[in-house]
Amino acid sequence: MMKPDMSALETHFGAPAGEDCGLLFDVDDSSMPAMEFPNCPNFDRFQAKTKDMVKNKRGTTTLAFIFDRGVIVAADSRASMGGYISSQTVRKIIEINPYMLGTMAGGAADCQFWHRNLGTKCRLHELANKRRISVTGASKLLANILYSYRGMGLSIGTMIAGWDEKGPGLYYVDSEGARLKGNRFSVGSGSLYAYGILDEGYRFKMSIEEAGELARRAIYHATFRDGASGGCVSVYHVGPDGWTKLSGDDVGELHFQYYPVQKTPVEQEMVDASPSTA
């Protein structure tokens, strides 16, 4: 009888103290991407410093909700480093595959890398099983990877939204290892402001235009109040045939669309003296 394959149960992390902190696991191990750990004298301090570096980086607003026509996903586009705006045109909605979207909040590099990695794994699953992976499965794959890196300073707060055989699916996954299934989520420093608008205007039965407009307004209000959110609002819709981009609006112009400038009455105006008629 063949011995069952126990390789998945072996731990690859946490080298005992005193050992060389070089390559910790085999390069040809296909389950985990091989990442070299630095050869430094104090690995714990290095981890703590990395965590501090990425700590306050969730300056963003992203949201997603399920309604009867599918899933709406929306995000702003600002990247900030403390007080400095490093970019106003960041793509925070990542296209994992034509029917699944992921949102980015936290460290940009972390989110981009692991979403692409997730896309690769989803494609491999499709090829191996001759059917698309479910949103449940994809979010579980990501959550397990992030859990294994827990405590190492990854900063990811993402939502996986998609449409599979069971219908629309939405999961919140973060770098602390949380994986939550839900109908409405908002992630980032501006999420509280977005929740205010989203919770007020949400109904399950909405048309796609209404849902898109609700998401746009929620993100807009978050960009107004939150200093770390801004730029453009992108709104995507995931339906049975995959995702489509509904709108991409500059928040600066959106403000004056929603709140046009009122002409205030002039208090004191200089008037030319009327010409005297002799």
Binding site: G59, S80, G83, Y84, I85, R225, D226, G227, V251, G252
Partner: protein, 204 residues
Amino acid sequence: MSIFEYNGSAVVAMVGKNCFAIASDRRLGVQLQTIGTDFQRVFKIHDKLYIGLSGLATDAQTLYQRLVFRHKLYQLREERDMKPETFASLVSALLYEKRFGPYFCQPVIAGLGENDEPFICTMDCIGAKELAKDFVVSGTASESLYGACESMYKPDMGPEELFETISQALRASVDRDCLSGWGGYVLVVTPTEVRESVIKGRMD
């Protein structure tokens, strides 16, 4: 975030031909949250002297109230308005009095002195004066403001051109700062008139 970045601010003053302009943003925030979008940072001392105060908002308001008090006393005693150079020395002395527990403000002073010569200066929070012939900046967006002013400034601009230049410099700089912006307020002062305007800006 440091105490100077608690409320967020941007103030700039520029010199033109027989005129000056002083401008500020209008945001009042508590770290990343925006509380107000019509906060006043540029205050009038007298018709030809204005002070813009960036940094902690409460210290800006208190410092302004103390300065107005001192200037009113001066007006009663000397029976005339203070010259901008004298006022700058007054602000510097007042700030240094609090050397070991300072006001967390960086003032920008702009005025028309003798013969209506424009005068601008800025100081750090403990009163180190920095006089300039072209422009002075302060606030959380000061680095961006330096860059924008340096590239947009020309000497001897008239009031209309000065207004355009200072507004564009302010807008471009606060659009790169999370903590300032949400509109702008510009004052252009010539020997005969004062023109105040509210600038439309990005509200994010």
